[in-house]
């Protein structure tokens, strides 16, 4: 019958995964990896991530955690494109099955710099340190202040200079 001849010509196309490697093309987007040495905790990736698989959350112990939940990831790779530090790479890993949801989570933990006056979070320690590297002098004494407190301190400084009582 005709179908048999079609079948005979097609031969066997089965790729016997997992005994044979799967057909993965060069640009395939699998899971992402965040390099903890490069990550600043700035959160740009969390703002572009459509399903919010990448989140930046403050923990009770005062640290800031960049959390990657593979379960909800849509493997679009936008995070890798927007990361200003190039800390995110897209791998070709797709064998991500897990028996628990917790195992699908990768966290990068950041210490934070807190405002020395009001205690609010100024930013992740790495980001503050790297962004202010090499800048010294007058500016340096404001790096551990949040914007509101910094304004107050600067204003007081000016007023003192011109002789007005704050």
């Amino acid at each position: 019958m005709k179908l048999l001849s079609i079948a005979a010509r097609a031969k066997v196309v089965t790729r016997r995964y997992p005994f044979e490697p799967p057909v993965i093309t060069e640009g395939f987007r699998g899971k992402i990896e965040v390099d903890p040495k490069l990550c600043w905790g700035c959160g740009v990736c969390t703002r572009i991530c459509p399903p919010n698989a990448l989140t930046l959350k403050e923990r009770e112990d005062g640290t800031l955690v960049l959390s990657y939940f593979m379960g909800r990831c849509i493997f679009c790779g936008m995070c890798a494109e927007v990361c200003p530090r190039g800390a995110i790479t897209v791998t070709k890993e797709f064998e991500l099955a897990s028996l628990t949801a917790e195992d699908l989570v990768r966290d990068v933990k950041h210490d934070v710099v807190r405002c020395r006056i009001c205690g609010r979070v100024v930013g992740p320690a790495v980001e503050v340190r790297e962004a202010t590297k090499g800048v010294g002098g007058e500016e340096a004494k404001y790096y551990d202040l949040c914007p509101e407190c910094r304004k107050l301190v600067v204003a007081r400084g000016i007023m003192t200079k011109v002789g007005v009582r704050p």
Partner: protein, 565 residues
């Protein structure tokens, strides 16, 4: 365009329509751009306007209800009429003050408006005055009565507790009394076929199990224009690129951003690749429905290289993530062009054999021929789209009527049949596969150089600054299943209103005339023939109106239609 048959009145020129709407019906042009004109008419004139436009050859694309109370203390409904033969859209707006929230229903004049009116009622809570049959269409059964998600004060993530569904009334048709339906009695199936003996007399469709709140999500604080294409792509996992492209086109139109030519070519190529994969998928499904499993296996075998090719070009087998506002994320180099050509050659060769075989098997021909007939007038009244329309003698194809992207640069045929039966719908799709292959070859041949992303856009630049608020746009793309329409009102950094009308949404109501009077045994094929985004049903409930007895029959195994939000 020369080969189109003119069976409908030729649509008037845009200027004449605008004149008539403003001078005779008291309308006022609120916006216009190229092939779109937006006219606001007073409520009392809407039915006459709809009658005038429809009898002038217009098709109804959809209507979108918008909560404009923050803007002007009113609700609005935008009816999008497509003047296909002239290639322009007339969007008719009517407003209702918030304390008098009703608009006239046009469903008796334009039957195609049925579902979008019901959806407007569900989602915005506006009254459709003059309709006899009103029922919940889109929202879940256990959703509270007076909560309308698209109203601006309702947060996108508000999940009210379950409310017990009342006894639902089945719309009676032609005097056949159906009576109240008690959910506890049997499983709510997607399709309920009412039969007399073995002949189908009516169809009741209950869908929207896949309603995920996408339109509302697009407006929500956690979304921005940059994320919309990724959301749009997942409206449907089979024709996702169509939705992503259509949404992007609407945003680019609203912003006045023209993507580079090379990007438009690449989008067109991927759209046609998607058409090929979708039609091959469908042919396999149709074969399975007819009990021809070997046909299913072979068709999907022929299809697989297209999936691998899609991954090579875009990075993912499906949900490609290729589109961004302003262009595409990846380019196609010489090597990839070569691979595309090779794969197309192979698919063309293999499918030609297979298609010839499948369409000549007498059992298949006998079952598909003369069954599930949709006449041209029925198709016209319901404004059906895609292969369903083209199999019933309606020459509608967005690629020809409103040329977009690179379609103007290629020459291709649009298969047209007039029998309107299941076989015609098979043949249209089979021929379209070969036309798509030809289109891609032509595009690759003349692929222009240059960038693939507009200089002002990129993944990193927040496009919000480029897309001003308060703009309108309508975009349409010919999906494998038919015309996909996106209507956009821009807001600050995200859409103010984003309406998606997927093709299957427009075609499902056509199942009623198709199934009526046919033997029950033909129902599975007819239902599959509108290509409901890969079988929207696993089973159908069959109720005999003479005995009142109900039973279920199998249509296909597992699956829920996605293309209807």
């Amino acid at each position: 365009m020369g080969e189109r048959s003119r069976y409908l009145p030729e649509c008037p020129e845009m200027g004449e329509v605008v004149r008539k709407l403003t001078e005779e019906y008291g309308g006022r042009v609120i916006f216009s751009r190229g092939t779109e004109v937006y006219v606001e008419v007073p409520r009392h004139a809407l039915r006459d306007v709809a009658k005038y436009l429809y009898s002038s050859g217009a098709f109804l694309k959809t209507c979108a209800a918008v909560d404009e109370r923050p803007l002007n203390s009113s609700f609005a409904v935008y009816h999008i009429f497509g003047m296909d033969s002239r290639g322009y859209d007339v969007v008719v707006k009517v407003s209702a003050p918030e304390n008098d929230a009703w608009v006239p229903s046009i469903v008796d004049v334009v039957p195609a408006a049925d579902w979008c009116e019901l959806e407007a009622r569900d989602m915005i809570g506006i009254e459709l005055r003059g309709r006899k049959l009103v029922r919940r269409l889109v929202l879940p059964e256990d959703w509270p009565e007076d909560l309308h998600p698209l109203r601006k004060e309702v947060p996108h993530d508000f999940r009210p507790p379950s409310v017990k569904a009342g006894s639902e009334f089945r719309p009676a048709e032609r005097g056949i009394p159906i009576g109240p339906y008690h959910p506890v009695l049997h499983e709510p199936e997607y399709f309920e076929l009412l039969v007399e003996g073995e002949t189908v007399v009516d169809v009741y469709y209950r869908g929207f199990h896949v309603h995920r709140g996408i339109e509302k999500l697009g407006e929500s604080p956690r979304f921005t224009y940059q994320k919309i294409p990724f959301l749009a792509e997942r409206i449907c996992g089979i024709c996702g690129f169509v939705h992503s492209t259509c949404a992007i086109m609407a945003m680019e139109k609203a912003a006045g951003i023209k993507p580079p030519e090379r990007a438009e070519y690449i989008r067109t190529i991927v759209l046609e690749l998607e058409r090929i994969h979708s039609h091959l998928l469908w042919v396999g499904v149709a074969a399975h429905v007819l009990g021809y499993d070997a046909g299913f296996m072979h068709t999907w075998r022929v299809r697989e290289p297209v999936m691998i090719l899609s991954e090579l070009i875009t990075g993912s087998r499906k949900t490609y993530g290729l589109n961004l506002v302003g262009g595409v994320r990846r380019d196609v180099d010489k090597d990839k062009v070569g691979k595309i050509m090779k794969t197309l050659d192979r698919v063309e060769r293999e499918f030609k054999e297979l298609a010839n075989l499948l369409t000549s098997v007498p059992q298949i021909r006998k079952r598909a021929q003369g069954t599930g007939v949709l006449t041209r007038s029925e198709a016209r009244a319901l404004s059906v789209v895609g292969p369903v329309a083209r199999a019933s003698g309606l020459y509608r194809d967005v690629r020809k009527d409103y040329p977009y992207l690179a379609y103007k640069e290629v020459s291709f045929k649009v298969p047209l049949y007039t029998e309107g039966d299941n076989l015609a719908r098979v043949l249209v799709r089979v021929e379209e596969v070969f036309e798509s292959i030809s289109i891609i070859r032509q595009l690759l041949d003349k692929l222009p150089g240059g960038p693939v992303m507009h200089e002002k856009c990129s993944a990193v630049i927040p496009v919000d600054e480029l897309i001003p608020p308060g703009k309108y746009a309508v975009a349409a793309v010919e999906a494998p299943r038919g015309e996909d329409v996106h209507f956009l009102m821009t807001g600050e950094g995200r859409p103010y209103r984003w309406r998606v009308r997927a093709p299957t949404y427009q075609n499902i109501p056509a199942l009623r005339p198709m199934l009526r009077g046919d033997p029950l045994a033909d129902a599975p094929l007819t239902i599959a023939s509108i290509d409901p985004c890969f079988s929207c049903t696993d089973r159908a409930l069959v109720i005999d109106v003479r005995t009142g007895r109900a039973r279920t029959i199998k249509l296909w195994g597992g699956g829920v239609d996605a293309c209807r939000l």
